[in-house]
């Protein structure tokens, strides 16, 4: 159990059986009254946010969370198969839990997976991944402006926006947190 004085931004708590994270936190103390802790709380499964004010005497549940480093192996239909490199256990993760991040997975990539009561709820990829551009309109030579973008397909057919100077065969880095192009690693042929 946590008490209200443990509350802070980023703390993970359990509310109504769901794992949640505190996204905003404010200490308040009206007049001669009691300390109050006003929180914005995001449900880690649904993504929904609620406001809740705790009193100093309130007890808050700790979620049963476990973070594990797993290695991505392969896709099997709607499932993505990961392996625990110490136990060789296989873990199946649904596409839904991965969200858009599934497009940036690569074989042998090490990812962090957060489990709530042994159920995977959140996957964290390395912040940057490298991908090869499979298909895009030819680049405008000499145009190195990065504010004008065009569509491009990466290896698995996923489409991202890249600057005009990027060509087919270029290798680019993508920020997995935003799903956006970050920079060019090397030019193609």
């Amino acid at each position: 159990m946590y008490t209200a004085s443990d509350l802070r931004k980023g703390l993970k708590i359990e509310m109504d059986g769901a794992p949640c994270v505190i996204t905003d936190f404010q200490f308040m103390k009206p007049g001669k009254g009691q300390a109050l802790y006003r929180c914005k709380i995001k449900n880690l499964i649904t993504g929904g946010t609620v406001d809740k004010t705790f009193r100093a005497v309130d007890k808050i549940d700790k979620p049963n969370l476990e973070e594990r480093d797993l290695i991505y192996s392969y896709q099997d239909g709607e499932h993505y198969v990961f392996m625990d490199s110490s136990t060789y256990d296989q873990v199946l993760i649904d596409a839904e839990v991965l969200g858009e991040q599934r497009h940036f997975l690569a074989e042998d990539m090490e990812v962090q997976i957060l489990f709530h009561n042994n159920r995977p709820i959140e996957v964290t990829l390395p912040f940057f991944v490298e991908k090869t551009i499979e298909e895009t309109e030819p680049g405008a030579r000499g145009d190195t402006a990065t504010n004008v973008m065009k569509p491009a397909r990466i290896e698995n057919g996923y489409e991202i926006q890249v600057p005009l100077f990027i060509n087919q065969g270029d290798r680019v880095r993508i920020d997995t947190r935003t799903g956006k192009y970050a920079d060019r690693v090397s030019k193609g042929f």
Partner: protein
């Protein structure tokens, strides 16, 4: 310069504003014949309040307010006193709180909370004019006109209007505190003049006397500017027996909640037994007033060091 020094350097405008506020406050009290006093920072017996925790300092405590010593001076015949200096409250930390902060308190003999209200209006107008050369200021996008007539709203009416219940008729402490921060303060934020929220339920009297012709409420008000709580004023309770009962009740509540109950301040009670003249007093958070006049969003912006 390292980052710590850079941060200090970047606070220069805010700290100059702070210095101007302190100077204007002292000018005001000097011009009105109030005597500046200094009372102990380390106390054996802090005022017994249910929700205010004193920081231990060896065998003593750091003061949460200079109130009890100021009242001993009143009992000894001093009539107009003020003090500005550090006070300490344990575990209070947030955008509007810091465990060490600057409090301004002043007291007047032969006066009540109405007299203190007039002082406060004059003080805020004087400081605004002296510091900004204006009768109004903008805090975080909200314009506050200090020269407009200040709104005076009773706690009962505020709760009836914005929270839908009457805390004077039936006081519920948890609901009162929650609604105050979630309903009343946001509504007060919309007011363009400073607001006096007055006549608290008897159960929330703290050290205020009850209204002689309406003992369900205490002669206590709080000043709100732009929804920020700035000051707390009383017609002071001078009756020793009632004061003792209230402190005892707070001590019991503190013990029941697993908190330290403070020793009895025998010198304070001796002063009350000797006789405290009818008096009014107030505690005003100087850092928050500076925040308003510096258009700063948090208290840490107007304090040089916030370790």
């Amino acid at each position: 310069m390292n980052t710590g020094l850079q941060r200090l350097h970047a606070k220069r405008a805010a700290l100059e504003r702070r210095a101007a506020c302190l100077r204007a406050i002292r000018e005001f009290f000097h011009s009105r014949d109030f005597m500046e006093v200094e009372t102990p920072v380390r106390l054996r017996a802090p005022a017994q309040e249910r929700h205010i925790d004193a920081e231990p300092a060896g065998a003593l405590f750091l003061r949460t307010s200079p109130e009890l010593h100021m009242k001993r001076l009143l009992a000894a015949g001093y009539e107009r006193l003020y003090q500005m200096g550090p006070c300490f409250r344990r575990n209070e930390r947030g955008p509007l709180h810091h465990p060490e902060y600057t409090m301004l308190e002043w007291y007047r003999a032969a006066a009540d909370y109405h007299d203190i209200r007039r002082d406060t209006i004059d003080l805020i107008r004087h400081v605004t004019r002296a510091v900004l050369g204006a009768e109004q200021f903008v805090w975080q996008g909200r314009t506050i006109r200090t020269n407009d007539e200040w709104s005076v709203i009773s706690v009962r009416n505020a709760f009836m209007q914005w929270a839908g219940w009457d805390p004077v008729a039936a006081y519920e402490p948890d609901r009162f505190d929650l609604d105050l921060v979630e309903k009343i303060e946001p509504a007060l934020r919309e007011q363009e003049s400073p607001v006096i929220l007055t006549d608290y339920p008897q159960a929330a009297a703290a050290l205020a006397r009850l209204k002689p012709d309406d003992p369900d409420v205490a002669e206590r008000w709080e000043l709100y500017i732009a929804g920020l709580e700035i000051a707390n004023a009383y017609s002071e309770l001078t009756e020793p027996r009632e004061q003792r009962e209230r402190f005892n009740q707070c001590a019991e509540q503190r013990r029941a909640a697993g908190l330290t109950a403070y020793p009895v301040d025998t010198a304070f009670f001796a002063a009350l037994e000797h006789g405290l003249p009818p008096c009014g007093g107030i505690a005003l958070g100087v850092d928050r007033l500076v925040m308003l006049l510096a258009d700063a969003p948090t208290l840490a912006d107007v304090v040089a060091f916030t370790e």
